[in-house]
């Protein structure tokens, strides 16, 4: 622990300090209003410090990384924090506004810390900093039986997933004989030569780690909690659940599987590839039957976890190849940003539409195009982007993911690996076509059906602002995807890494 490390962690410290202030002040002042301003202020302060730090980023010692992946994740988390705070700006009728915003900021701080963790213990604690406030959020959301079920289900399964993840970390510690990721990577590289039989324990560790993180990603076979939990909670919580844990799990998966476990990639990409195939197919096919909006979006978020895993598989398979051919990294993080914008936007529009009671069923959106043309247009934009219709940003994201998989396929002469990735890309494209059916069904209900009732009560302006911000960013990235592609291509551990590249000298 040095003053340099404290300075480096200042954005996270500011976010956590804001969260603590909101919690404690919320216990003294019995108002439900105004906490959103405080949360926005803290997020903005953290962003300002982060902007000041960039360019002359310090090289902290011990427990922290300060590479491109860290910088990208921190910016992504802070931007998501802004959108999610806007979404939670208006306190719910049940109260608990300070606790909601404080917990939200803590999950954001956890996401930021996952990327810079250079130690297994710190990574686990950072992931728990996301999980534990999420339990509180799920409990605070609503007060009915469905919500109780959602909170309990998420709590028990999340604890189980954490236990599985921790069990994997214990095997990794056993093989690497250290909790430091750099030391583990060095030990694994050496182990390849000295005792290859021992490496199988590293594979076991990898399977358990992938299983633990697959819960947070909502990837098959750890997806089954998602529909019930999303259905039972609020639109705002569902938006958080479908973005924050996914981003953190992706970063942790790439950091552990790609960076800290050299020599495992040939096993890892197969595992991730099969999970990806199952996840996107199951998510998309099951979503076709859903009539409940959040349940539908839960299956949609499962399907998108599958697409993201395609990029992870490509990145893993490309670990020892030239970066020009296999660019899974850029595709993953570009897709993650675009998916996050469209998903938060969708939930924000529904949150806005709901007044005293929230919009739940697909039928409630009937004729929305006539009643509320602006909201309907925004929602249609987000759904088209999730479908991947050109020229929206969702299309660029899918294009990059599938192009990366096709590149990894390597055409006719790709061999067995190439065949796998070609099959993956083809099934991915087929899945995108299936997904169009249920996204466009919502659009059809909005524009081609007669309104069932009177216009709903006006929702809150925070949610509308969040939706408009998502739409503006989405349109900007559709017209000019270049800046986001460049930013995503910087989100790699070997960009801006100051020291200790010894174990990775041959990789890109």
């Amino acid at each position: 622990m040095t003053t340099a490390a404290v300075y480096f962690l200042l954005p996270e410290i500011l976010v956590i300090a804001t969260a603590v202030t909101i919690y404690v002040a919320g216990a003294f002042f019995h108002t439900q209003w105004g906490w959103g301003w405080l949360a926005l202020l803290g997020t903005a302060a953290a962003a300002a410090v982060l902007a000041l730090q960039s360019g002359r980023s310090p090289a902290p010692v011990g427990l922290l990384y300060s590479d491109g992946l860290v910088a990208f994740t921190r910016w992504l988390a802070l931007n998501l924090a802004g959108l999610l705070v806007l979404l939670n700006f208006r306190p719910s009728a049940d109260g608990g506004a300070p606790e909601t915003l404080g917990s939200l900021l803590l999950t954001v701080a956890g996401t930021m810390l996952v990327a810079s963790s250079q130690d297994l213990v710190m990574m686990f604690v950072s992931l728990e900093l996301i999980s534990i406030p999420t339990y509180v959020l799920l409990y605070l959301g609503r007060r009915d039986a469905l919500n109780q079920e959602a909170a309990a289900k998420y709590f028990y399964l999340s604890v189980l997933a954490s236990a599985i993840f921790l069990y994997g970390l214990s095997f990794l510690y056993g093989v690497g004989r250290s909790t430091n990721l750099e030391a583990i990577a060095a030990a694994l590289s050496a182990l390849e030569q000295t005792s290859p039989a021992f490496v199988s324990f590293a594979k076991l560790a990898l399977v358990l780690i992938v299983a633990g993180l697959a819960f947070r990603l909502a990837a098959v076979p750890f997806h089954f909690y998602a529909p019930d939990v999303y259905q039972g909670t609020t639109h705002a919580n569902a938006a958080l659940l479908s973005v924050i844990p996914k981003a953190a799990a992706l970063v942790a998966l790439l950091r552990l599987g790609w960076w800290a476990m050299p020599g495992m990639e040939n096993f890892a990409w197969k595992l991730v590839l099969i999970l990806s195939l199952l996840t996107m197919t199951l998510g998309n096919v099951t979503a076709l039957w859903q009539d409940h909006l959040r349940r539908l979006m839960a299956y949609s978020s499962i399907a998108h976890a599958g697409y993201l895993l395609i990029g992870v598989a490509v990145a893993l398979a490309g670990r020892n190849a030239s970066p020009a051919v296999f660019d899974g990294w850029t595709a993953v993080f570009f897709y993650l940003c675009v998916y996050a914008l469209a998903t938060i936007g969708t939930f924000a529009v529904w949150h806005y539409l709901g007044g005293t009671r929230s919009v739940e069923g697909l039928d409630e959106l009937a004729g929305l195009g006539k009643i509320r043309p602006t909201a309907a247009a925004l929602l249609a934009l987000f759904l088209f982007s999730l479908t991947g219709i050109p020229p929206l940003a969702g299309f660029w994201g899918k294009l990059q993911i599938f192009a990366a998989a096709m590149n990894a396929g390597g055409g006719p002469g790709g061999g067995e690996t190439g065949l796998w990735f070609t099959v993956l890309a083809v099934i991915g494209v087929l899945n995108a076509a299936i997904a169009a059916a249920y996204y466009l069904r919502i659009v059809g209900v909005m524009y081609f059906r007669i309104p069932l009732g009177a216009p709903r009560t006006e929702g809150d302006r925070g949610a509308l602002l969040a939706a408009v911000a998502c739409a503006a960013l989405l349109v900007a990235f559709s017209v000019l995807p270049g800046p986001l592609v460049r930013a995503s291509s910087q989100a790699q551990p070997h960009v801006g890494q100051v020291a200790n590249l010894s174990h990775d000298a041959d990789a890109p």
Binding site: V20, Y23, V61, A197, F201
Partner: protein, 157 residues
């Protein structure tokens, strides 16, 4: 064992087999060789040395739950503060005191231990930072305590 994927997995199967075998063997040995002399005291459920005064399968007041959580936080606090207190103790002090004033041998520099060793090895910058970290930890717990108090956790309603 010609399949490389299979031979890779042999250590894992060995590990699982050993884990199961150890559990079974220990139970069987205990069953075979233990002297079976049950008594009233031995059949008593173990409650950390306290005599149980009623059946454990009984309903508890849910209000105990909040108190238990609050207690747990401060229980864990001690777990962190004891090692910190021991590590921050400069071990050179008692040794220097034992040196008689007439002793002509130069006072040996004691090897740094605890936080001093961490500072010497460059793991932490200085002692002040460690102290600040511990104080911050306590401050966070106090803030949690204040939150509990304001929310009425300590009122038996």
């Amino acid at each position: 064992m010609t399949d490389p994927a299979l031979s890779d997995a042999v250590p894992i199967f060995l590990f699982v087999a050993c884990a199961i075998a150890l559990a079974v063997v220990l139970l069987v040995i205990a069953q075979l060789f233990n002297p079976a002399r049950p008594g009233r005291v031995k059949r008593m459920p173990y409650e950390s040395g306290m005599d149980p005064f009623h059946d454990a399968r009984r309903r508890f007041d849910v209000r105990f739950y909040l108190l238990a959580i609050a207690f747990l936080v401060f229980d864990v606090e001690l777990l962190f503060l004891y090692p910190w207190a021991v590590a921050s103790h400069p071990a050179a002090v008692p040794r220097a005191a034992t040196v008689a004033p007439t002793d002509i041998t130069p006072p040996q520099t004691a090897p740094a231990v605890g936080i001093d060793a961490a500072v010497a090895s460059g793991l932490v910058e200085n002692r002040t930072l460690v102290f600040a970290g511990a104080m911050l930890f306590i401050l966070l717990l106090v803030l949690g305590f204040v939150y509990d108090w304001r929310k009425g956790v300590f009122q038996w309603r």
